[in-house]
Symmetry: C2
Subunit: 704 residues, 2 copies
């Protein structure tokens, strides 16, 4: 086997090296420094292996060198497996030799101590200075199955041997990765690449996803992420995979409170806000899995079958009960089970007179009495419906060689006849039967629910891919300079002025310093009016009782002015008062909340929800990345359950949703311009009327 040709990607030298030097090579094949040599030899790596060992010129039967400098010719990659204290010197040697890809497998860096953190900094600085790429430190290495590049010391490979295939694994934690790929190997799933990134001093999970998205050997990417340092890079990598038609199945480790605490001790990385992470996965076409098993189920279907072209499925079943169960599961998983047409029903009944139902199609166990009953029925149903997926529940047939073997031959024929459809066999089977089915390009699940969940996930991935929302900064747009940004919390008037400049509808209102000014402003607006205290120190006016509504005449305005000023003077901490705002009473509409949350990892996110208990109690809010498109804004609104209230609820007139969309777009532009300096925006309430909308209050906070 000749070494794979080198590609264009920055990480190619890690996965497809022609030669590798092992610094810290050991003659003992069970030691850390000995294992990679043993694995590479046993796997049959065809490239050059250069053990570096001062004491011997032969390591495990391979010619060894006293130093890197002694190796004749170029070396593509080095593994450093020396004690942490010698790692910097080893990297210097690599640089001297011109090696551009270095894995540091040793531990004893940022994960361990302050001293280790400084050591890691030194490695980073040195590598950056000389254009060397670094994987690790404290990582488990790389396994590349097809080219037999087993550059790891993971003992998992002592018990398990991966078969070549199209699933790739990238995880931060080596042990997490081993668990996932060990389960994959045990199920007989074929693997392309495995990489664990450890402390991520340089190369991280994101960059590996980016590599795998363009790796011709990889068709599905399974990734586990603990922390993410650059949300936009992750977005780009996910989008690249989506455009390449490769499902990315992500697990985020550390989503619970205890989990986040444990993750912090484990890697020191900060996990982004969990809900935001979900949104980014959705927008960028990835699937977030909750368990390793779920991840592998989806990967299994993705490598054995074509992607589903629609969300429709037929359930053909020899058992009514399991058919019903699968219909229940389908509803939960977002898979449609449409009734088949009367004409197809009639044609089916010619073949299977006792068939029950219109989908699920229950053949009952009597189908066994009809020669080729199942394959002929499947053939007819696949040909005559446009459902992408066809579940075939076979009960115990796959446990019975005598009955399963001929059936499998017929089904394999159908798999070839309908290459763009998904035939999903379901039923308890033993490993031998399962592998026979898989060799024919079919899949078989023992548990009906798992089959449905895997298909449901792939249908959702399809929907996501058809409506990708990059959420990346608009290249043509120049953000405002940080030096132009205000500092801290703005008062209501400045906040609204700023937002109004971007097109948010703000009612006419006047800041008044005296009772007389307030009455004059009210006279000009026309009654009734509203009076509000304005103070940078009072952000939650309702709780402060700083708003007085429905002032019908001048005396009421005077009284309100006095009362607000007195209340502020008596308040703890003596809030600074800018004056009292006089504004028109806005007609009754639907109160919503618009906001900008600036996520430390994923940047500005637009938030939308409805006022009152919907947000406070039911957390019925949704987020979308900036910049919004009008379509995404509408989707954002619709993804909030309470948005039904905007569409004409219980006889109320529908509200002006297009005004709301415009406001969200304005807010998005505002956020895009000011993001680096912005801390957050709350427009609450933002009242949507039957014609137009009004921002009644706003809090805008910039960094200090």
């Amino acid at each position: 086997m000749t070494p794979a040709p080198m590609g264009e990607h920055a990480l190619d030298l890690f996965f497809n090296p022609r030669s590798v030097a092992i610094i810290g090579a050991s003659s003992d094949p069970s030691k850390l420094g000995g294992r990679p040599i043993r694995f590479l030899r046993e796997a049959g790596f065809a490239g050059q292996i250069y053990p570096i060992n001062k004491r011997s010129d032969d390591v495990q039967g391979i010619k060894a060198y006293a130093s890197l400098a002694d190796i004749p010719g170029e070396v593509d990659q080095a593994l450093i497996i020396v004690p942490a204290s010698s790692a910097v010197a080893a990297l210097e040697d690599c640089i001297a030799k011109g090696i551009k890809a270095v894995q540091v497998l040793s531990s004893g860096f940022a994960e361990e101590s302050e001293e280790g953190r400084l050591r890691q900094q030194e490695l980073i600085a040195l590598a950056a200075q000389h254009g060397v790429r670094l994987l690790g430190p404290n990582c488990l290495g790389i396994v590349s199955v097809r080219n037999r590049y087993f550059a790891t010391f993971s003992t998992a490979l002592e018990a398990l041997s991966p078969q070549p295939g199209a699933i790739s694994f990238v995880t931060q934690s080596g042990a997490f990765g081993s668990c996932a790929y060990a389960l994959a190997i045990q199920r007989g799933l074929g693997i392309a690449r495995i990489v664990a990134t450890g402390n991520e001093a340089d190369v991280d999970v994101t960059e590996c996803i980016d590599f795998l998205a363009s790796d011709p050997e990889t068709r599905v990417i399974c990734a586990a992420i603990e922390g993410c340092r650059d949300g936009n890079r992750l977005r780009r990598a996910l989008l690249k995979a989506a455009h390449a038609g490769k499902p990315v199945i992500l697990m985020k480790v550390g989503s619970s409170a205890t989990g986040q605490q444990a993750a912090a001790t484990h890697t020191g990385a900060i996990a982004g806000d969990d809900k935001i992470f979900d949104v980014v996965c959705k927008e960028c076409g990835a699937w977030r899995a909750q368990s390793i098993e779920e991840m592998l189920d989806i990967a299994y279907v993705s490598t054995q079958l074509p992607p589903p072209q629609n969300d429709r499925a037929t359930v053909i079943t020899v058992s009514g009960g399991i058919g019903v169960l699968m219909a229940d599961d389908a509803e939960r998983c977002g898979v449609e089970i449409p009734a088949i047409s009367p004409s197809l029903q009639a044609r089916i009944r010619e073949l299977v007179p006792f068939l029950v139902g219109v989908n699920p199609l229950d053949t009952t166990a009597q189908i066994g009495a009809i020669k080729r009953g199942i394959p002929n029925l499947v053939d007819l149903v696949v040909a005559q419906t446009d459902s992408a997926t066809h579940f075939i529940y076979l009960a115990q047939i796959p446990c019975d060689t005598r009955r399963f073997t001929p059936l499998l031959a017929d089904l394999a024929e159908l798999r070839r006849k309908y290459p763009d459809r998904l035939l999903v066999l379901v039923g308890p089977s033993d490993d031998a039967m399962r592998r026979l089915a898989e060799a024919e390009g079919l899949v078989i699940f023992s548990d009906p629910g798992r089959a449905m969940r895997a298909i449901g996930a792939l249908c959702e991935v399809r929907r996501r891919r058809s409506a990708l929302h990059p959420g990346l900064p608009d290249a043509g747009r120049t953000a405002k300079k940080a030096s132009d940004a205000p500092r801290g919390a703005l008062n209501e008037i400045r906040a609204k002025q700023l937002l109004a400049e971007y097109g948010l509808p703000v009612p006419p209102e006047t800041l008044c310093a005296t009772e007389e000014a307030a009455v004059a402003a009210a006279d000009k607006l026309g009654y009734p009016v509203v009076a509000k205290i304005v103070s940078p120190d009072i952000l939650h006016k309702t709780e402060f009782c700083g708003v007085i509504l429905n002032l019908a005449h001048a005396d009421a305005v005077r009284e309100a002015f006095r009362s607000l000023i007195q209340r502020a003077a008596a308040a703890p901490g003596s809030p600074k008062v800018d004056g009292v705002l006089i504004a028109p009473m806005v007609r009754k509409g639907v109160e919503t909340i618009l906001g900008v949350h600036v996520d430390p990892i994923f940047g500005p996110m637009i938030m939308f929800g409805l006022g009152g208990v919907a947000v406070e109690l039911f957390r019925d809010v949704a987020f979308a990345s900036v910049p919004l498109s009008p379509g995404r804004a509408e989707e954002l609104i619709n993804s909030v359950k309470a948005s039904q209230l905007l569409r004409g609820w219980r006889g109320q007139p529908p509200q002006d949703v297009s005004a709301l969309i415009r406001a969200l777009m304005s807010l998005s532009e505002f956020a895009e311009d000011w993001a680096p300096s912005l801390e957050g925006v709350d427009v609450n309430p933002f009242v949507v009327l039957d014609d137009g909308a009004a921002c009644l209050d706003a809090v805008v906070t910039f960094r200090q």
Copy 2:
């Protein structure tokens, strides 16, 4: 092996017969009538087998009889496997012979046609008349593993052979059952009994659960139900199992719209309302599973390990990443992962200096370097904490015989040392290693998430068992006679009067036929007052605009009276008007909704929710069976998310929850008294005040 002794239960003869006659016995061991004989012989059933066959006196090597009458002595049970048209005659023969337990395996009854339904009716009538119990028709039969009673024609047994154990399966659908037990057999789970009830002409899933609850061979009951005819019998069976300490893991087939449609074609049984079914499971200590795999996971833990005594768990892991993942899963599954004490931390660090975290406890892979590191750590943690469950993540060790065998011996020792704790091993393993662990009374899961979900379910079962709520009619209480019940919908006044008799707080109010009467009533109450239209034809007064609030003086009352009467006169369908109700304005409080839903299967259920979008949009309502206890009423309130608003929300004073509890209790008594004639009650709004509460409107509907 001697036949099992007969117990007291009505179904004993089905599971533990000393003799069985097979009507329709065939010499061909592959035919329907031949298979049970083959299975019984091959399994080694020690009781008498009497094939009934007119043409031969030897069937598969067993002496056959021309008719039941020819059999000398008593026969405990008969299997009928003749065509449906001959089934009635066969049952008559059984009756003549004095057989008390008859399985009708034949199909062609209610599931097929009207003719079949009538045939089934005939069987039922005949059996009832002679005190014969009937299983089926259209059922798959019974498998009782320990006494080798394999009375079924399921072909699943051709490929798979169940090992004796403590898990029992009862399902309506035979094919559903086969799928479940085939998966169980493949996993090597031990089985006690398997029964499918088919058309349930007599014996149903409920009665089988009742049998299994007192069956000494059964420790876990796995059940799948499609329809339930008698909710109270199901409650009693579930409660019996809960008191016996046997987990019941239920699947309800047909919970989605498509599923319910498919279920209807499959069995003709009506599935009870899905949400009510959940409530009954909770109240009666059962667990509702969503997949067969989940069902088997829970059964697996239940038969291998003791039940958890609390909800706390420790996660000991050789991989930080998996530890974090399991902490995330724990939060989702209701399992607590409490931090270990500083003193235990100190003791652990003497043993494992590099340990990270306080729970999960991450030993890192370095633990491999410490002799007996894992078992010593587990021993210390189990001894020094009170957590019931201890997860031990072993990475790939269980794939490696050399490493796993000695570790397993040490862990098995700990299993014996701490018999009341749950040691749950997690890590990819092959079947051989898994079975070794299981032979030592341990469990091992490949997927960490599945391990956590199974334990989470058992913790929830524990919590449910400690707060059982039978929801069965109070034996000491005499319900009202149906003949005393009103008919149809009551008007608001009668509804409130009836509820007030049971103690619901109804404000003083007067039904007025004239303007003058309305003013007099208002004068008496004191202003402001409310006026409401009263009509049995107008149930939703708000939508009709039939309520006018805040009438401050006599003129306003007059105007309101006129306007309501005119509005009713102009309404479509000319609603009958009983008059206008004058009532006091109730102070502002929290609006709630109380109701009684009379479920056709589970009887009267109390409903509780908060007014407005909480119920309408977020379906934030909860149900509880009647009769309520005060404790259950409080639990019901707390299970509604929006009930936070009652406890003092955002600076509001807390409301009078005890008045709400009293009202729910009153409503429960009302429902209990009138249940057979009642259709439903809606008390909406029921305003909870800071002192007391008030029923502002009520709809009570009786059957016509």
